[in-house]
Symmetry: C2
Subunit: 443 residues, 2 copies
């Protein structure tokens, strides 16, 4: 078909626009995202966590096995569905990596070695109405350790150490992890003959967001006495080091167990900077299934993001919906895309945006007869570990310099003759003679 014959029925142009809640980045932003993801993966692996990936979908019955969830779920339907589709199990996109991990562990139980340490860095989906800082599609970076029957408390400390190392290594200012143990508040409530801790836990979960007067009123609605309310709030306001915990008088064995466990975890983390990890008894992780140690993490130098960037905890029995085994575990999850997007939008200075491509060297010649030398030069440099583009032209453009500059390529390599090569450092404007076997980046 010639260009001419096409024009009469040229299709109309559909101008695409961003889809709310489904973010995408420019190449130079994506390079930073990849650097962050690589750092996270490397840190997880340095502690021996093994990668798994689960499908993006689960059967709806799997997602709802623990009862109705508070997350909005996306169900899949084929555009041209037929009657056979109604016979198949309904599939939905996973809304976190915890349910899929529990299902995976149960399904492959006999082929796994325990304790099973896994990391998972995938996209998850939530069909929420988009709002600031909420996405419908986002990456989570999770680690969990799961074992049969029991799991040493050392892993609860390891979780915190890994998460701190990950976030600290992103160079986005000071990071503070706040740790508590659900047994402490639950123990206190049991000592008051309150055996369902859930309503009070949900209120305490809001202690940082609401004025204290409102917290007191909410607790009053739960029919607690003024003394009880005072005791609960005093406990929840405890923050600090292991020594601050010593001042607390345990009311029963459960509360004592919670305090002892928390002290042991803090002990195990004493090699980290003193501001890095603190005890904070207001942390309860309201709606989740945790039974012991719980974590939240805040960025102290990013005011725009006061929420927790990394949360998790210990659970007694995560996979009980899928297998008749007791499988206790402890895990932590980084809300990666949310973290990345907040920094991208509000603290872009912390991202150190660099080039638009991974290229180290742009190889260029003005002489058509040197084409082969040019290609061999590029290939030699690639074999030595450099990322190399050859600048190809149809006609003699003078655009190679602009191209390197715009993309942020740090070196241009000029092939002037079979053995006459020059390399230009774009940052310093220096140009020097070289050859592909000996050249190295300027330090």
């Amino acid at each position: 078909m010639s260009e001419k014959s096409k024009k009469p029925n040229k299709p109309s142009v559909y101008k695409p626009k961003p889809i709310s809640g489904f973010p995408e980045w420019l190449p130079e932003e994506r390079l930073v995202e990849l650097k962050w993801l690589d750092h996270i993966r490397r840190t997880f692996e340095s502690y021996g966590f093994a990668s798994i990936e689960t499908p993006s979908v689960e059967e709806i019955d799997v997602l709802l096995a623990k009862g109705e969830v508070d997350k909005e779920i996306y169900v899949l339907e084929r555009l041209h569905k037929d009657e056979d589709d109604d016979k198949d199990a309904r599939l939905a996109l996973h809304f976190d990596q915890t349910v899929p991990f529990a299902r995976y562990t149960a399904q492959h139980f006999n082929e796994l070695t325990f304790p099973f340490k896994r990391y998972q860095m995938q996209r998850v989906w939530r069909g929420e109405r988009p709002q600031l800082g909420r996405q419908r599609e986002f990456y989570q970076c999770d680690i969990d350790v799961i074992n049969i029957d029991n799991l040493p408390l050392a892993f609860d400390a390891e979780m915190a150490a890994v998460a701190y190392e990950v976030l600290d290594g992103l160079d986005i200012g000071r990071v503070q992890m706040r740790i508590s143990n659900r047994k402490i508040l639950t123990g206190l409530l049991e000592s008051m003959d309150i055996n369902d801790p859930v309503p009070v836990t949900r209120i305490i979960d809001k202690i940082e967001k609401l004025p204290i007067q409102q917290i007191e009123n909410l607790l009053k609605e739960e029919k607690l006495s003024d003394n009880q309310i005072a005791d609960i709030i005093q406990l929840a306001k405890t923050k600090g080091t292991k020594q601050d915990l010593d001042a607390i008088e345990p009311k029963n064995d459960k509360m004592k167990e919670g305090l002892d466990e928390l002290a042991e975890v803090l002990d195990n983390l004493s090699h980290l900077p003193s501001e890095a990890i603190i005890a904070d008894l207001s942390i309860v992780r309201g709606l989740d299934y945790y039974t012991g140690i719980v974590y939240e993490t805040q960025l102290l130098d990013v005011e725009q993001f006061t929420g927790s960037v990394c949360s998790g905890g210990r659970y007694d029995n995560l996979a009980s919906s899928f297998i008749n085994k007791k499988l206790p575990g402890v895990g932590i999850s980084i809300g990666f895309t949310r973290l990345f997007d907040v920094i991208r939008q509000s603290r872009r200075d912390l991202m150190n945006i660099g080039p638009k491509c991974p290229t180290d060297v742009l190889v260029y010649t003005e002489d058509k007869d040197l084409k082969e030398t040019t290609n061999i030069t590029a290939q030699t440099l690639r074999k030595r570990g450099f990322n190399v583009e050859v600048y190809d032209t149809v006609k003699k453009w003078e655009k190679h310099f602009k191209y390197a500059k715009n993309k942020g390529i740090p070196y241009i390599w000029y092939v002037n003759g079979p053995d006459t090569h020059e390399v230009k450092n774009m940052a310093t404007d220096d140009k020097k003679e070289t050859n592909p076997n000996d050249w190295n980046k300027d330090e």
Copy 2:
């Protein structure tokens, strides 16, 4: 809640099963998959391709902008949808990375530098009835170069070189890339006054799958003469080197242009092994939108997989549905998950399945008082780049050896005293004294 109070209303167990068409791997398989994906990414980057990721979904209008597609599309619906949902654009999972790439290029046109070289390694979804070798969710690894108005033919050669280097580096036997140019057959057909090449192209696309008699019959149904059929089949059966192309008499300018371009691309690839890249004029990529050079790739040593593992081609104007610019490009796509799964199921020997985790060293002590030394040892080794697990016990297990053996961890590190350390090589059973600052893996 005590264990006891839980038992009466213990929830029933939902035994999970695999979902057809949505594969997942065991940790030891996933480690091989990661190694392959890392190799692919490294190779793409060594040629200067920049990573992008697009959302998993597009608006349905974007996916169908070029007209109805032959792929089955998954549409998203919220489980608890409300009337507002009907007002929103309908979203569907992307079925390839080409349409999203075209949309991305159009949408961010002013922020990109051209020629734009990008790679994309994401999952795509197709709601097909699952069958052997067909998945509903799978990774594709794509590279494309796109430019404004025109794009040098050197990039068509670079595509083939990158794809060959990627597949050859996976160590799955001999790889052969077969290249043609659509202009050759189209030119021949135009010389016969056949101006719509599509019906004949679709038939020639099947030349490797059907007996030649059947191909002839199909062409007869298109009202071609015996002479025309003979000429077409003779052309399509041409296979070999640049010299074999020289024997073909071009019937018009278009056919000559096609042959010249193909010869130039082969010339540019002469540094590769002679069996690696061949001309094969039966390659037409039946249903796709290509206008010039086209590629397919076969594994010569994996009989179980006769299809193409890596295909692509040159297109004049990919993004014309989304922007009023002429943007020619060339691209190639590796059907990664299909390739991986075929090797996994039928040539497992080629996978070199190794350990179940990335751990290099398992650090262990029998003495509780040496806990801190153990942790410091692990941290020192991690800082030196090793992946290290500490084996933690509640009571004194004798299980650390079995754990290391089962997971394939190559070294056990025994902390016997503050400065008395021994390391055991699990492969050789050798044990020697060492310290964390000087130790290195045995060569």
